[in-house]
Symmetry: C2
Subunit: 333 residues, 2 copies
């Protein structure tokens, strides 16, 4: 018999999620039957959207969140014992999955992409949902052209750090905003951002006017709020904004107010588009192939903020929401 | 000798434009030379953008604003004496124009479209810039499909009233917001809006949830501000917003704050696009042909709020900014 442990949300969050909003539930798993596989999680993902969906769009956490898992037992020949998969089974150590059962999107799994020697944990990071988010959000919605100026907020996070590097690969000038001087140093010195700012200590408009006197063509928005209003006010005609998240507001009970965007949108004829990356699910393979290629060639660097142990998922989650991570926050089970 | 009278802005506006921010300047016009025409304005347009461009994007008023004019003398065979043109010569009674001189976009003129017996004043309204604005903003950016729900603010204005009627022609359910009970009655009883609300006296979210329990697919935003945040929060996945203006904020010294849009944009994957109608200048003829056709067939009704006399342009402008007009605000010279 295999025991399953999973985090279950007992209470929907108010403000910063509390430790006792969660409960770890233990279940004995039955033997697998035909078509099923038994998997053991090796890497769990903690991501900002997991905060956002709770409260306003309640989703039980035990079926929500990406993980890299190894197949322990298999009655599905497509996923043999010892192979690795990426699933959406959340903060759960062992699971039984029937990939043929399409009654829930939570049964959707895919084989860990061929990482060509890169660490498996990238399957929930650079070569996973966050990488696909950066790739499609930037390339499909912002459509950056060589020589254009791209701004990204949450620049030192899992998605933002990839966005900036892809924009550099595409020949753009890249400016990032992040929340600590260490992050700024990492962005400028290691990732090759043209300029990065600590949004907590600079005057956003002044800093950006100096760094981008030619204006901003593309903005990848991870944070929402006033900083986004400021950046959008400095955009050039026909500028494009991809809205990926609003982490600045996720712990608020009601969405906050910020300077309205409409005048900039009209007079600069801007396009602002929000997205969820499953929109391009049929094309994730394209993104992964490029992301692996760039990672192997050294053009794309990944950093992980690793929390050890299934018991520490809560701390990893809260730390990520507070911005403790540089790069992708993951939990090693 | 022909005298020209034109309104010139002496001081850039602060708050509501004041009468003595303007001066009427008289000039003697010289005889026309080869390639020129002398025109006399018959209908002048007062539009919200004329407030917006001032202060933040100063443009002298004597070269800003549409008019329908009759050709008094012509040394350009394309525009014979007695024919009518639409120009961008602003609040000016007589002008000399050289349509071959492309050094300023203000010399760009076109023949009054064939209105098939409709009043000439429509050349600055339904079959002019406001009509093209409604047509392309709605059809190109919102792309409403039959059966979808379209919301428009500033619904009783020059643009909004056309937007709602085009949406009806396209088979949509149409909900409008305007600023008086008389306007609401006009929208529902005469223009065939499915529902209209006085935004000053209703709870926007409650009213819209009741009127559109199926959610909002398209939103044509003329006003910006908190009402737009409320409407956008009720949109369906892949909803489209065309941002045409922000009249709610034009008299403010700094743009106001309103509830942030980003969470709705992300979780509903909305697209919000601002525009200026010259983007489609090469296609205005398409719009005009449809707008004339629909007007002749009775599917599209136009109402005008007419101010008489060149001396009353200021009052017409201020009245329009305050929402006194139902339909298009025009000045009969």
């Amino acid at each position: 018999m295999v025991k399953q442990r999973k985090y279950v949300v007992k209470k929907y969050f108010q403000g910063v999620p509390k430790r006792d909003d969660f409960e770890v539930v233990e279940t004995e798993l039955p033997p697998i039957t035909n078509g099923e596989i038994l998997v053991k999680a090796e890497w769990l993902s903690v991501d900002p959207y997991q905060r956002a969906y709770n409260t306003r769009n309640p989703v039980p956490y035990d079926q929500f969140g990406y993980q890299v898992a190894v197949v322990l037992e298999s009655k599905d020949p497509r996923y043999p014992e010892g192979s690795r998969i990426v699933s959406h089974r959340g903060w759960c150590d062992h699971s039984i999955i029937n990939a043929n059962d399409s009654s829930s999107p939570m049964n959707r799994i895919y084989k860990l992409p061929d990482l060509k020697g890169l660490p498996n944990s990238l399957g929930i990071g650079t070569v996973g949902m966050p990488g696909a988010t950066a790739y499609f959000g930037l390339l499909e919605l912002c459509q950056p052209k060589e020589g254009e100026t791209v701004v990204v907020t949450g620049a030192a996070g899992a998605v933002g750090s990839i966005v900036g590097q892809i924009a550099k690969i595409k020949g753009c000038k890249v400016i990032g905003f992040a929340g600590s001087d260490d992050k700024i140093e990492w962005l400028e010195k290691e990732l090759g951002f043209d300029k990065a700012f600590n949004y907590k200590t600079v005057d956003i408009v002044k800093a950006l006017k100096e760094a981008a006197p030619q204006g901003v063509d593309c903005y990848f928005d991870n944070v929402g709020g006033e900083i986004s209003s400021s950046i959008i006010s400095l955009m050039n005609t026909y500028g494009r904004v991809a809205v990926c998240g609003s982490i600045s507001a996720y712990n608020d009970a009601t969405w906050p107010k910020a300077t309205i965007l409409q005048p900039s949108l009209v007079f600069k004829e801007l396009k602002v588009e929000g997205f969820l990356v499953p929109r391009w699910i049929s094309r994730w393979g394209e993104a992964f192939a490029d992301l692996v290629k760039w990672s192997k060639s050294g053009q794309l660097k990944s950093r992980e903020h690793v929390t050890e142990g299934f018991d520490n998922v809560y701390d990893a989650f809260i730390g990520m929401l507070a911005g403790d991570n540089t790069g992708k926050a993951v939990v090693k089970v």
